[in-house]
Amino acid sequence: MRKNWWKILALILVASSIVAGFLGPVPVLPILHETIRNVYFHVPMWFTMISLYLISVIYSVKYLNTGKRAYDLMAVEAVNTGILFCACGLMTGMLWANITWGAPWPNDPKLNGSAIATLMYLAYLVLRNALEEEQKRAKISAIYNIFAFPIMFVLIYILPKLNDSLHPGSGGNSTFGDLDMDNYMRPVFYTAVVGWILIGVWITTLRYRVRLIEDKKNSL
């Protein structure tokens, strides 16, 4: 219980944010209408993805400093889970875009930026497969992971702010937080964010432990 309380907390937070997200009141706004509820699901996916990529970079730095294999496994599993959340974020986003903008994939810097950032992390996984020797693979992929992280940040957060973008929070648009979220929405939104980040970390640790066991079996 002392070790697992945050998993239960994650479940409670996500479950309550889903219930409150679908049933709770939302402000009545033109065009958006009920789709503003997507902010409870779409935005947390991206926050979780960024947190997981950040965890991955931290473990890559740790790997380079110490050379312990377990750190490398943690880094790659964080990226694997991050890509999963990225896919969920893209899908919930496309659903919302189809209703409010009229097309699932308008040519928009925020969307293209996130797609390209995903390509970067898929390239990281391909790079891992291209290297046979385990130590070399761990070291070189850790280097690429650290190298790619700031560029990913520029792609998702800085470039859309500079260009014209339809997406809320970029291209001179206000975020939902500034204008449209009322005081009921805010706590639900933060609950969802914390809950989903914890769920992401949970999935990562599960995958990491499976990976450790496999690794031990292979080295026997």
Binding site: I116, M120, V126, L127, L131, I143, I146, F147, L155
Partner: protein, 219 residues
């Protein structure tokens, strides 16, 4: 030897080696000129946004071809020799400087030929030249580090492409924006944001390269 002399010596060594064979630089210049002709034959005439974008795409592929061979020579025993006499920071700095120089030569040649064949009005030469200068340096900083990584992965050209394309796309977008300002004859106030983003990305890339290259290099 301090860092500065080491970098100077290494750049001198690269230039000397290149000057003796002249194979790499001639082949890459020829590559650019032939690509421009291929594009000219297929497009005949283009309007100005496409003219600008096409130029950057030609440069992108030329840069990948030119810079993927950055670490081709540094293999095996020669690497061990460098390891004993110079610091890894000096090596990566020297490679970045040398590659920037190569890219400047490459992009100015490409621009001369391109502008001669596909003649197009450039509104503000200052901004366009600045974008070519910044573009050459940015390509050099990003591709040098990625070439170092892909050299460790067996100098595979597919690896080089998939690793560098996503990383170069933000730079390319900003560069195309900036040079488009030059084509339509904008002013420096309007493009100040793009210039500062480019400089910031370059500073960050060089800093990360300096930090990471020692790990990459040590086998």
């Amino acid at each position: 030897m301090n860092l500065f002399t080491q970098v100077k010596t290494l750049i001198y060594k690269d230039v000397l080696l290149e000057w003796r064979s002249k194979y790499a630089i001639n082949s890459i210049l020829l590559y650019v000129v032939s690509t421009v002709f291929v594009c000219y034959q297929s497009f005949k005439s283009v309007d100005s946004p496409i003219w600008n974008t096409l130029f950057w795409i030609i440069l992108l592929f030329a840069a990948i071809n030119a810079l993927s061979r950055s670490f081709l020579q540094e293999t095996g025993s020669r690497q061990l020799y460098y390891f004993s006499i110079v610091s890894p920071q000096a090596i990566i700095l020297a490679k970045i400087c040398y590659n920037s120089f190569i890219m400047l030569l490459l992009s100015s040649t490409a621009f001369l030929v391109y502008n001669l064949i596909f003649s197009n009005e450039v509104g503000h030469w200052g901004i366009y030249m600045l974008s070519i200068l910044l573009g050459s340096i940015s390509f050099a900083t990003v591709f040098t580090m990625v070439a170092g990584i892909s050299a460790k992965a067996g100098n595979n050209s597919t690896i080089m492409a998939i690793l560098s394309f996503p990383v170069i796309i933000p730079l390319l977008i900003v560069l195309i924006n900036l040079s488009q300002q030059g084509v339509i004859g904008g002013n420096f106030e309007a493009s100040w944001k793009d210039i500062s983003v480019l400089l910031a990305i370059n500073v960050v890339t060089i800093a990360i390269s300096l930090l990471l290259f020692p790990y990459l290099w040590r086998d």
